[in-house]
Symmetry: none
DNA sequence: TGGGATAACATGGGATCAGATGGGAAACAA
DNA sequence: TTGTTTCCCATCTGATCCCATGTTATCCCA
């Protein structure tokens, strides 16, 4: 599971270290790296392992072949996604379009979201974080844990 | 089940012993440690075993992928959560942001809550405890036993 | 029931290792 | 050739591991 938030540096070559915990999640998969695309929902990147893309593919294939939404999702996700391979130190090189879309300059914030993650510019993420927290606080009742006898 | 309240010391490296009873709860699980995150609801940490996070993940994955509430919860919980592994003596190292959020300096109060637990600064917990007790007294009728098939 | 022995737990410090980062050389494309 | 990309090595910092020690709770036996 992708967890926690990490800020890593982006060097002059556009390289950024993927947090070691994130690398551990995709380790052993078919592709030694991550798959990223610019979010169509905001100025950040989305990413995950190859398994994530395969799950999205399964979701999309349940839609009608010429459903407008299907075509839009296909273009926005599969059309925009690129595999980013790890170098021997666990870094990836961000394509310039990706860095531009997310406003990544010298620092990048990796945000783990369970089955996937996001990459933000640290400044932009700070702005969004507080609103996400207050939204979560106001809506916490929507997240009900079913009681399990015995706990844990 | 996480039970009872324990105060343990936090050393100069930010390490704190997890109460032995709490360690026994997560022993045998997939990850030898606990998973904690700063509560979005107050100046304390929430935590549990990996099983707890997986229950949250299952809940969240029932929501649509780009539902605003889903993304807010993902960022507030998974984005903030970190796995804290036990060292050979059953201690974990608190990340600095965590200690800051909860105001943990030299002592930490572990509060067992059944399926999860909280970590407080002892002073803040004392203040909170009295108000929590009066809140519980005022709302005691909200604690309902679910009907159990077959009676008892 | 009291006291001593023993084991479990909590704590402190030092050494070692992994991760993040910067720079340069080699391979490749224009 | 020139610029770009990929690969590899060096370094630094911080986290993790390991050993030593004190303290408390538990157990056993007198």
């Amino acid at each position: 599971m992708f967890l926690s938030t990490t800020i890593n540096g982006v060097d002059a070559k556009g390289r950024v270290s993927v947090p070691a915990d994130f690398r551990a999640v995709v380790r052993g998969g078919p592709f030694d790296g991550i798959i990223c695309w610019p979010s169509f929902d905001g100025p950040y990147l989305e990413g995950g392992g190859q398994a994530l893309l395969e799950r999205y593919q399964a979701l999309i294939e349940e839609m009608d072949p010429y459903d407008d939404a299907r075509v839009a999702f296909e273009r926005a996700i599969f059309g925009a996604a690129r595999p980013l391979a790890f170098d021997s130190n666990g870094r990836v090189t961000l394509p310039k379009e990706f860095a531009d879309h997310a406003g990544l300059d010298t620092k990048a914030t990796f945000v783990g979201l369970g089955s996937r993650f996001e990459i933000w510019s640290p400044e932009r993420f700070e702005e969004h974080k507080s609103s996400a927290q207050s939204f979560a606080r106001d809506n916490k009742r929507a997240l009900k844990l079913p009681p399990r006898p015995g706990g844990v």
